[in-house]
């Protein structure tokens, strides 16, 4: 490829492509990925993407921990929306255990999941501004994310490393004043959303940078296994929440935004619209959810209430068995998938019937998207890498497992 381009050039002056190592220690690749670029001036003629700079050994770690101990590890998969990973993993194990969780738990999971999606999309959209130099839009979006994280902290006890999901339920019920807090946060989020629109959406500089760059075709998206907002921006209306409803997504109204050109701008718009839809889903959930238990009543998987543990030998034995043996998951395998911030988050789990997973494989959207990223970058300009890389929204923790 490079040779073809340089044939005519070589005839007058000697030129050769420049190899540029972008990353891992580069401000835009934040230490987690490396692009080896072949440049013709500013034009990228070849891009070699290399992941593997945030290796945590997630899948191996899981084999040495009990089913419950996996939750902290899943927090660190997509660390911008850890709750979605928590719930995705919990759902997978529940499918293997063949247990149902109470309705309120599903409502909570839907709400908290969408709140996480908000934080994911706000980060991505805001960072889109940052990568183009519009720092202010980024900080407004981060302000929104902080508000969202305040809510998450209120409910889960941590902002980032939440460990909130549990097999057969969630760690705790929502706080009592959650609806009020959400009403406040919702107002602020909408303000921020509107400001972001004002700052970016119709601005010609932004449009010029985003439109027609990093174009993904639906065929390529599907063949590379792209999912989530990135695939939807090409016009493919695949959303796990719509096509294979789980939790309470079958019960609420929402729109699935799709684009048509699959460029950076469409991805930006899809994410902006999904922010609106997430707010809509949370509103509906809060309206419709009813009080009730948040954990399954199956003693095999759920720790008994503390009161019972302290005061009855039955509760104590139950507690102890779950703690030191782990939840006993029957032998078998399951592939369970949910819609995470960046696309389909799948957990393929094999159990050999003990308290520890035999194998947990994660189909993390980010890693799969990195597979086709060079097609989006090659042929573009050096400066287009950054917005493309941003709207793909690679999260390092997910990228290497």
């Amino acid at each position: 490829m490079a040779e073809d381009i340089y044939q005519p050039l070589d005839q007058d002056i000697h030129t050769e492509p420049m190899i540029l190592q972008m990353g891992p220690s580069h401000p835009a690749t934040h230490g987690t990925v490396r692009f080896t670029l072949t440049l013709d001036g500013e034009k990228v003629i070849k891009c070699d993407t290399e992941v593997g700079y945030l290796h945590r050994g997630f899948e191996k770690e899981c084999e040495n921990s009990t089913w419950t101990q996996v939750f902290p590890y899943t927090d660190r998969l997509n660390y911008v929306s850890p709750l979605l990973n928590n719930f995705g993993y919990a759902l997978a194990v529940e499918r293997l255990l063949e247990i149902e969780v109470p309705e309120r738990c599903n409502w909570i999971r839907t709400i908290m999941g969408e709140i996480s999606r908000l934080s994911d999309h706000l980060t991505c959209v805001g960072a889109g501004g940052l990568e183009l130099g519009a720092m202010t839009a980024f900080l407004y979006a981060l302000e929104g994310r902080e508000l969202v994280w305040d809510l998450i902290e209120e409910v889960t006890g941590a902002r980032l490393t939440v460990s909130y999901g549990r097999i057969g339920g969630v760690k705790d019920d929502l706080t009592e004043d959650f609806a009020d807090r959400w009403a406040y946060t919702r107002g602020r989020l909408q303000e921020i959303h509107a400001n972001t629109h004002k700052l970016l959406t119709r601005n010609r500089i932004f449009l010029d940078r985003m439109q027609g760059t990093g174009v993904l075709t639906p065929e390529m998206g599907i063949s590379y296994g792209y999912t989530g907002p990135v695939l939807r921006s090409t016009g493919v209306d695949y959303d796990v929440r719509k096509d294979h409803p789980y939790f309470m997504y079958g019960e609420v109204d929402f729109d699935v935004p799709v684009g048509d050109t699959g460029d950076n701008y469409d991805r930006y718009l899809v994410r902006m619209e999904e922010i609106t839809q997430s707010i809509r889903i949370i509103d509906q959930c809060l309206e419709r959810m009813e009080p009730g238990p948040v954990n399954s009543d199956d003693p095999r998987v759920v720790l008994p209430e503390k009161e019972k543990v302290y005061n009855s030998i039955e509760g104590m034995i139950n507690h102890f068995k779950i703690i030191f043996e782990g939840i006993q998951v029957p032998p078998g395998e399951v592939y369970s998938y949910t819609e995470a911030g960046n696309g389909e988050l799948g957990f393929y789990i094999v159990s050999n019937g003990t308290g520890k997973p035999w194998k947990i494989h994660v189909r993390s959207p980010s890693l799969i998207m990195m597979g086709g990223l060079h097609h989006l970058i090659e042929g573009g300009l050096l400066a287009d890498i950054i917005p493309t890389f941003d709207t793909i929204n690679m999260i390092g923790g997910e990228c290497d497992k």
């Binding site: 009855s312 030998i313 039955e314 104590m316 507690h319 102890f320 030191f324």
Partner: protein, 513 residues
Amino acid sequence: MPKVTINGTEIEVEKGTTLLRAAAQAGYEVPHFCYHPALSIPANCRMCLVEVEGNWKLQPACYSEVTDGMVVNTKSDRVVKAQKAVLEFILVNHPVDCPICDQAGECKLQDYYMAYDAQESRLRTEKQSKVKVFPIGPEVLYDGERCILCTRCVRFCEEITGTNELTIVQRGDSAEIRTFPGRELDNDYSVCTADICPVGALTSRDFRFKCRVWLLSSTDSVCTGCSRGCNIHLEHFRNEIQRYRPRYNPQVNDYWMCDAGRLTYKEAHEDRLLRPMNNGVQLNWHAVGEATADKLRRVLKDDGAATMAFVVSPQASCEDLFLAREFATKVLGTTNFYLGGKADGDSDDFLIEADKNPNREGLSQVFGGLDDLKTAVQLLQDLEEGTLSSLYMMESHLPFDSGERTRFIDALDQLDLFILQAQHRSDLAAKAHLALPTCSHAETSGTFVNSQGIHQRFDQAFAPHGQSLPHWQIFTRLSKALDAPLEYTFVHQVQKEMFPAPEEEDDAAQPAE
């Protein structure tokens, strides 16, 4: 042979088999507390009740023998209901003690509750208060509240040791296990009662609060306390042995082992020699090879091999001894072997042997009988007469009384060279010109031959402590330094050499329980 149908599976079993054993053969577990394969059957816990067609009452599976054409159901609704009722009943007075109970993790009550009950108690009564932390014997503690009165311990003392210390006092929910007045649970096998106790009522004083059992890793090994070589589970955590637990082997020790044997694990950790020492200076193994080779060459050149004594120990494994022989004869060129090892001790007619060395039989096999080996007394005599110029010793045990040992240590001063391979720091190690650390049987693998002539392999549980090495590796290292290498890298190469046609080794059978 009667045929019996258990849960729809038809199986043919020997006459006289109990339902519980038959079910186990068919692959069905029947929960039980009081039944123990080595003890008599009282059928008092009622946990093993199963439904036998034609009987309106549920039958205790541990006690009922099969008859031809019997149809048994171990999982019917009635059985499940009975199991739940029994567990609920047992748990009524059980204290909420799991956090402080050493049994938690290997507790039958915990296992069965989760497997067969897993529901809340319907009974709301005050729990019965009983004696706690009662020193029922020097090695065993008793907790009355946790006891479910299965009487395994009582039967053990009646049937296995025949010492009859224990009995049940009081009635109903006040019943407790007690010793007879003026006695305590003080026999040589008392800790076995803690092993067989299905709950945490009897616990070992030595293991008390040391480590939670679910954290332990277990390795199959052999007790080194005496030449009986009881099979054990060597249980360890973070590179330390935490306890020995008997491993079922009907040919050697059945389900049991003695209290003294259980405590021998301490030897593997106490006062270990961890680095090679050259006249009190620490060395690394690289330097050891050179220093030892230099010294040995000089002594062999000055005095010749004939004045070198080589002490072999029945404490070492067959592989170690084999390489010791090879090293002494082929590398050093001496056949001046003396026999070390611990002095004899107490014995009984059950498991405890007088010979406190685990591998005397193996040593005899390696050296083709013990006749060619000179005794330790002879060694002392030769030393004092000055006919020996150098001494190479495996392990620091010698069957001496204290007077002889003092004389021996004094006599060591006149030696040109004294090399000691030992696990422990001792007065001997302090005297040695070269003290080389060796590892315990938990840190290497090998073979012991017990007094019955049974070859028993033990496995490595964890990495050697400090810089210690197995004897045989020290010999191969030194042989290389002396330019007459013994080419062994792995222990299985030694075993292959030793047992050319691999004998059918007595791989310990798994315990039935």
